[in-house]
Symmetry: none
């Protein structure tokens, strides 16, 4: 059997619940290209991590890509750091970091320093690029607007440390609770926060700002460990096409090459056609192409049904550009983000595997409801890669 | 998200196989209230313990309530003992026990001592309430008719001991096989049987009986160990409404409060309306209400299709009384008991979870066949509580 490539289209937060006349966005939106794919493939529903488990995007991607998050989830910090292009070393602890505004009592006035512009933030960040505290090295890497990543390197550090980010304004920056395990780390973080405040308060770009970027808030500590690469694990070279840093980070974490595509913004205005063209090109070189689309999730969080419907139409057009590939095509999501709930939910998501020889089940519409009746049944995310390997002709018979 | 209560309706032995015109009792009986529940919920089939495993009621309930029976099943004895209201201590070994009739050669003439009446049995049992053998304490507690529970307490005892009950008439009372592990226990049980025979043979109430209750047959040895409570494990206060002792025992074993309801008899004549009223009242106080209905299973063992159909109608009426609760409602069974087989069978049972936000799958009839097409797919019993927690708004996101 010919070994084929795999194109994995991951629609973040795709699953939904009824939003109108008892129907979901997928039920009420015409998707001729996806319906055609489903007709020449197999389909079902998928619990990304398990029944009743509401997935985060990070844990869900790992599980679906064959890395049990209970073993391999490094926390959000390292994934964001990798997504920002930072080279991590074994044992580094990484945090997501915000430039923020505090008053002189260290009470947070604005968690985003007045949504400071990227250019200003980058210049301000220079003054805290590298700070040593008690023998530990703190590196701040600016990404977009107020956002960045802090990496801590040194002996005796740990990721068992709480956020300094109080997660709401009007509250003081948090001094992480000190435990027997984290004492060195927690104390250093306290000192780091003060040192950052001192340096940033003096920064000339902050002088004129009503909401100076005078502190760094940390959250999502995680320790980086190298994991077996996707290629080693499944024998497929792999790349990642994504706008969002987290998804690039997930790709890098499991050893995928990250392909940057102009116009791939991880927002509603992302250039799906550019991503599709990039994916087709990558399929010439890679066995496995992971194409991530973020906006449906964001629109789910915003409760915006109309924009989710519009994204479905755009995704369907993008699928039309891709349908002629010889690769096996997968379309699924990492979790549901029903606009009625405005948050991730545990309800299973549709999954289809197409461009494969398959029995004809007569699906009419690619949606949550009809997918429940498919051959795949309701599967766990961890079953996806093994099935894809089989459909792509990349497995051997077990036994004789 | 609002945290809600859960009403768990367990229909013992609910699943079936075709009994008429290729249809099961559930397919041929009108169940408007259950159908309405299914329409505003999700549904599927459930293998209570696993595919191809024919569950006992005890092991099945444990698995569905989140206690893997391979780890937590204490044997039938302790569950019956707890159901009878006996306070067990860690390390006690409990047996189910029958008052029975033997001849002078210890051959069983009647396993139920002529189905002795409860009042007589209770008086006779007084004479063997507590017997000490070689430092081990044997306590007999009478329950109903010929039935009772024997608890053994003392050092060096074990539940690795066979039944003394030969399980058929015309055979001798069994002397449990002696092994290196159980020698003390097995010998004591042999002596206990003789001592019981001596005491009961002399009992004046036995003088006039054609089938004297002159021996105690033991079966289902199990050692009691305390387990983590359901409340601790899942963060939900819980109660149990059941007529049958076993089900009360299962509830007590996992720390549920047992609510006794007048008219709940675990028989065909049970008062389902009284149970429903009790359940609604319990939902004001408890997070999780386990409502057990026994009769369908008994009628399955008897091969009585008509009575099973009548029970389905009654259950549907009971569901009508319950449908307005704000709680999440679950309806399922612990196994199939097809009247064509007259015993438990491994075929999966229907499950529905209702009063939840759900996609509309257009089910027409709550039955084994249509449930196979539901969003839940064919799940394992162990997936039920995690899903219920999610539907009741009692879970957190895993990851970010």
């Amino acid at each position: 059997m010919e070994r084929r490539g795999i194109l994995f289209i991951m629609i973040d937060g795709m699953g939904s619940l009824p939003v109108r006349d008892g129907k979901t966005e997928w039920e009420i939106t015409k998707t001729p290209n996806l319906d055609a794919l489903a007709k020449r493939g197999v389909y079902g529903l998928m619990n990304p991590i398990g029944p009743g488990i509401t997935p985060g995007s990070d844990t869900s991607h790992l599980n679906i890509f064959g890395y049990d998050p209970h073993i391999y989830y490094p926390g959000r910090g390292p994934l964001e750091a990798l997504g920002a292009g930072i080279k991590l070393m074994e044992g580094d602890v990484a945090f997501r970091a915000n430039l923020a505004t505090v008053n002189r009592n260290m009470v947070v006035v604005d968690r985003r320093a007045g949504r400071i512009e990227s250019a200003d933030a980058a210049r301000i960040a220079k003054s805290i690029e590298r700070i040593e505290i008690d023998g530990l090295e703190f590196t701040f890497t600016h990404t977009v607007e107020h956002r960045g990543v802090v990496v801590v390197r040194g002996k005796g550090i740990t990721a068992s440390v709480g956020d300094t980010d109080p997660h709401e304004e009007g509250r003081e920056v948090v001094q992480p609770e000190i435990t027997a395990e984290n004492e060195r780390m927690a104390r250093a973080i306290g000192k780091y926060t003060i040192e950052v405040y001192k340096r940033l308060s003096k920064h000339k770009l902050n002088k004129g700002r009503k909401l100076p970027a005078n502190v760094v808030l940390l959250r999502g500590a995680g320790m980086y460990r190298e994991v077996e690469t996707f290629q080693k694990r499944f024998g497929m070279s792999a790349c990642c096409i994504a706008g969002g840093a987290l998804y690039k980070g997930i790709g890098r974490y499991i050893g995928m090459d990250v392909i940057n595509v102009k116009g791939a913004t991880a927002t509603f205005d992302t250039d799906l056609a550019a991503k599709a063209r990039a994916a087709l090109k990558c399929l010439e070189k890679y066995d496995f192409v992971f194409l991530h689309i973020k906006a449906m999730d964001s629109q789910g969080h915003d409760g915006n049904v109309e924009k989710r419907i519009e994204m479905i139409k755009r995704i369907d057009r993008m699928v039309g550009m891709l349908a002629d590939t010889k690769a096996v095509i997968v379309v699924t999501g990492d979790h549901s983000t029903p606009p009625t709930k405005r948050m991730h939910s545990f309800e299973p998501v549709p999954i289809l595997i197409s461009n494969v020889e398959a029995r004809g089940y007569g699906i009419n519409k690619f949606c949550e409801v009809e997918c429940a009746w498919g051959e795949l049944g309701t599967i766990n995310g961890s079953a996806v890669v093994p099935m894809l390997l089989a459909y792509a002709g990349r497995t051997e018979k077990y036994g004789t």
